[in-house]
């Protein structure tokens, strides 16, 4: 256990260093969601005039989008880095060391998780600076950060699975539109009860990303909503678990060492 923890720390350290040394990798996740948050929160401000809209601050409503988009970027980063390791043979180099598969996977998402943490602090800070009030208080703000990091880890693991399955950075990137679509067909822009088109509302209802967004949102505009939080955290943990299991299985197939 101690050795495994040590290995996770070593691989994570490498992942963090690598991410930090690629500004082209971390600048878009830090800036793009903030820009979109600023643009959309103003462009859609009129939505707060709709009867039944839960808040008069569209920025407060829309804020979770940034965390979700940041998590998507995390999947790309983790996946692309692992795909590069497969391509260059570095994965074989690691396979020849005593490191176990589980430690390798957990360490590989270190960079994405680290970036996820920085992103979360930045987005939350920007929202607070723009006047957003967190109804759940400082505890809620801390939970937002924890939730955002967990979601980044979950999507990061998904990226790892894609990398192991496709073996290429292009393969990882090609899934990005699908993941982005999941974000679009959610309750990111309007509460589900205000979505007029039935099929869209139904899709948003079965889309786990809606619950991730609603859990975060509830902390900002409602306070402590147990149901939203349970659903959201449940989806986050399920995402992490499923992605990790898929990635672990795929790693066993790809790294066929005896």
């Amino acid at each position: 256990m101690i050795e495994m923890t040590h290995h996770v720390a070593l691989i994570s350290r490498r992942s963090l260093i690598r991410t930090a040394r690629q500004p082209g990798t971390w600048i878009p996740p830090l800036t793009f969601p903030l820009i979109l948050m600023a643009v959309n929160s103003n462009g859609l401000r009129a939505a707060t005039h709709l009867p039944g809209f839960p808040t008069h601050s569209f920025l407060a409503f829309f804020m979770p989008f940034a965390f979700m988009q940041g998590a998507l970027f995390a999947s790309g980063i983790a996946g692309t880095d692992l795909a590069r390791d497969i391509d260059t043979g570095f994965l074989n180099r690691l396979a020849l060391t005593p490191v176990r598969g589980g430690a390798l996977l957990m360490g590989q998402i270190g960079g994405a998780v680290g970036l996820g943490a920085v992103q979360a602090v930045l987005y939350l800070g920007a929202a607070l600076a723009a006047g957003v009030h967190i109804d759940a208080g400082p505890g809620g703000a801390a939970l937002i950060l924890l939730f955002a990091i967990g979601t980044a880890a979950g999507f990061g693991s998904l990226g790892l699975w894609l990398a192991l399955r496709t073996g290429s950075g292009e393969g990882v990137q090609s899934m990005f539109p699908l993941l982005f679509f999941l974000l679009l067909i959610s309750s990111m822009n309007l509460p589900r009860n205000l979505i007029e088109v039935t099929w869209f509302r139904d899709l948003a209802t079965i889309n786990p990303v809606s619950y991730l967004i609603e859990a975060l949102r509830s902390l900002v505009i409602e306070g402590w909503n147990a149901e939203a939080l349970l659903l959201g955290f449940g989806c986050m943990l399920a995402l992490m678990a499923v992605s990790m299991v898929l990635a672990a299985r795929q790693l066993r197939l790809r790294m066929t060492r005896t």
Partner: protein, 257 residues
């Protein structure tokens, strides 16, 4: 000796062939506008109930105009990626050596961008019609709408072309697409300009794309408004970015690319 048009047609043929043989190049520029259309028309349709919305032909048509222009711009930008790839792989050098009228190269890429976008626009239009989009305009109005989109497609291409020829690397892709993305979203995307509040209202008023969008929405609803202004703006952008692209080509020539 090839004329400018022959160079252009030969290059456009090659680009289109490459595109059709490589679906991975074709799918993203097709998918993104479709996804946006589905997300906006499906997820935001209730916005037409906001007091003062004032667009009678339904939210689908309202949003369709934006997505059409977005697809046009990105059809051009994605062709810009192809130009950058051509430089990285050395194909551009072959073009510069063999084309006697080098401005034909830009025209060729422009034709290729138009062909790429035409396919996307066709799919988008079919999807919108299947989604019961209401069209208040007549044939001439629609011709005007698609005409605006064609010009905007070329504007997107010329912008990306200029960047690609200056930087000559696919690493320039974010630089090609981010300004276009920002220009698109700093316009009245989701609601009419009158419903925008705060700084975005001021920015939208200065954004040339706002006039294209508003004219397009007028055309699709059969209530054309400020169409001449919109075409004027579009043609001005076309001229400006044509210069940008041509000077980019000169830079590439001087660099011996």
């Amino acid at each position: 000796m090839s004329s400018r048009l022959e160079v252009a047609l030969a290059l456009a043929y090659r680009q289109t062939t490459v595109l059709l043989k490589n679906p991975s190049f074709f799918v993203p520029p097709m998918l993104f506008p479709l996804m946006n259309f589905v997300a906006f028309a499906g997820g935001l349709s209730r916005l037409h109930q906001v007091p003062g919305f004032g667009f009678p032909d339904g939210y689908t048509a309202f949003v369709f105009v934006f997505v059409l222009l977005q697809s046009a711009a990105f059809g051009g930008v994605f062709t810009g990626f192809a130009i950058a790839r051509d430089f990285e792989r050395g194909f551009a050098r072959r073009l510069l050596v063999s084309a006697p009228h080098r401005s034909g190269i830009i025209i060729g890429y422009g034709l290729a961008a138009f062909v790429r976008w035409s396919m996307i626009a066709a799919v988008l239009t079919v999807v919108a019609l299947v989604g019961h989009m209401q069209i208040g305009g007549d044939g001439i109005d629609l011709f005007g709408l698609y005409g605006l989109a064609v010009i905007f497609n070329q504007v997107g291409l010329l912008w990306a072309c200029g960047v690609a020829m200056r930087l000559r690397s696919v690493q320039a892709a974010p630089l090609m697409q981010t300004p276009v993305f920002l220009a698109l979203f700093l316009a009245p995307v989701y609601v009419p300009r009158a419903l925008l509040q705060g700084w975005i209202h001021s920015v939208a008023a200065l954004n040339p794309l706002t006039y294209l969008l508003e004219a397009g929405r007028g055309l699709i609803s059969g209530r054309p408004d400020e169409v001449v202004l919109a075409f004027g703006v579009a043609l001005l952008l076309l001229a400006a970015f044509a210069v940008w692209a041509r000077t980019g080509l000169s830079r590439a020539e001087r660099a011996g690319a």
